[in-house]
């Protein structure tokens, strides 16, 4: 699994097989909270993708150039949280200044992502999987796209639920969680797809 083929496998597996929301159950909060309408879901998904890429861009060098060198691997979590949180703040300031239109579209979601566990999860898992720098970037892009996919699918499902008559005891959060579990089950069907893709 070297070179370009390896990168494709990483991308596909992080979108479909190891989907952060549906298989690893990270980032459930925005998944349930911002998936009511399609345009909001897309906005959130795109923002998370951008932040995941930026976070990997910043945390991978820190891990390998600073933490590993001094034998301080156990500080990973706290240092990564510091970096990601301030990165998102900086991104918001820059967007507000240079692209107010983009800030209106994505800006509202940025504060929500500041301490999103999916973003932190991507940064840490890239290190744990011993990915190279390029592989890490591809993997975080895949994870972001996977999050976007899950958000879009779920917002479609939720708009259908809104139109239908739900038994009284299942209304609201209950039916939302049940629907989420069904999507998650459906994604289990994709589990073997990547291993045999290039076999």
């Amino acid at each position: 699994m070297e070179g370009f083929k390896g990168l494709v496998v990483i991308l596909l597996s992080s979108v479909l097989v190891n989907n952060y929301v549906l298989s690893r159950f990270l980032g459930i909060c925005p998944f349930l909270g911002v998936s009511k309408k399609l345009n909001q879901a897309v906005g959130m998904g795109v923002s998370v993708t951008v932040v995941m890429l930026l976070a990997t861009l910043a945390t991978w060098p820190i891990q390998h150039l600073v933490l590993d060198k001094f034998g301080l691997g156990y500080l990973q979590t706290i240092v990564f949280i510091l970096i990601i949180a301030s990165l998102v703040q900086i991104l918001e300031i820059v967007l507000k200044r240079f692209s107010p239109a983009l800030h209106q579209g994505l800006g509202v979601y940025l504060p929500l992502i500041t301490t999103n566990c999916a973003v932190l999860g991507v940064a840490i898992n890239n290190i744990n999987d011993k990915f190279t720098f390029v592989q890490s970037l591809v993997s975080s892009l895949g994870c972001g796209l996977g999050f976007l996919l899950a958000m879009v699918l779920f917002s479609g499902l939720r708009s259908r639920i809104d139109e239908s008559e739900v038994p009284k005891s299942f209304r609201g959060v209950a039916i939302t969680l049940i629907a989420a579990s069904f999507i998650s089950l459906a994604f289990m069907g994709l589990a073997g797809i990547v291993d045999n893709l290039f076999a």
């Binding site: 600073v66 001094f70 301080l72 500080l75 301030s86 703040q89 300031i93 507000k96 008559e165």
Partner: protein, 275 residues
Amino acid sequence: MLTDILSALAVVVSVGLFLGILLALFIHFLGIREDEKTKKIRDALPGINCGACGFKGCNDYAEALSKGNAKPNLCIPGAEATAKELGEILGVEVEQTKDFIAFVHCNGTCDVTSTTAIYDGVDTCRGRSMIYGGPKSCRYGCLGCGDCAKVCVSDAICIVDGIARVNTDRCVGCGMCAKACPKNIISMIPQHAATAVFCCNKDKGADAIKVCKRACIACRKCVKACPSEAISIVDNCAVIDYTKCTECGLCAEVCPTGCLQKVCFPDLPDNFSLN
């Protein structure tokens, strides 16, 4: 041991310090300070984000106001008090606020219309209207499930005899009900309007009167009676132009079916609730 603790401390502190300084620099050089005026304006607005002003919400309207892109008299729930306050903050003269209220263009109560089918689905107007336009004999009329009442911010709508009615005292004129109505039969009329058309049936007169005894049959008596030419027939239904209406009430007197009436509901229950 001690060196381990110290080195860990040093790394975390230096990372934190570096990021802190970076953030401070970014805010100092690139940050946009929030306008004092915008904040003041937003505090003066009601903050219910109804969208009646035509902006996305109170924040959006406040920003447009502080940039001078909007007039201060657009806030309908806040009415004149808010407009006056906004005018003081902005230092401009305020024109009179436009007072609009919602009005349901239907008078087809249960006794003058009939049901053509038994409906047993999701009990909302939207659900009903999706199946052959609903179970009511008139395809245009109010279905009476209260989709409008559910979105009303001021509890101004109640269902009486199968028809949505707007309490003119309580209505703040936000227009949310007009957006929620699947039949599009709610429109905004001036608060001082004397008469209104209680029908929106666009079928020809003979067909309209078959499905509802109070339908507009487009007989044009009101058009002829109106001294100020404010009434016209559009798609077989009378329409009043309130910019020309002089509130004389002559049209209501000549209407043979009673679809043109005075706007007042003296028999509305004072403290009604939705069933």
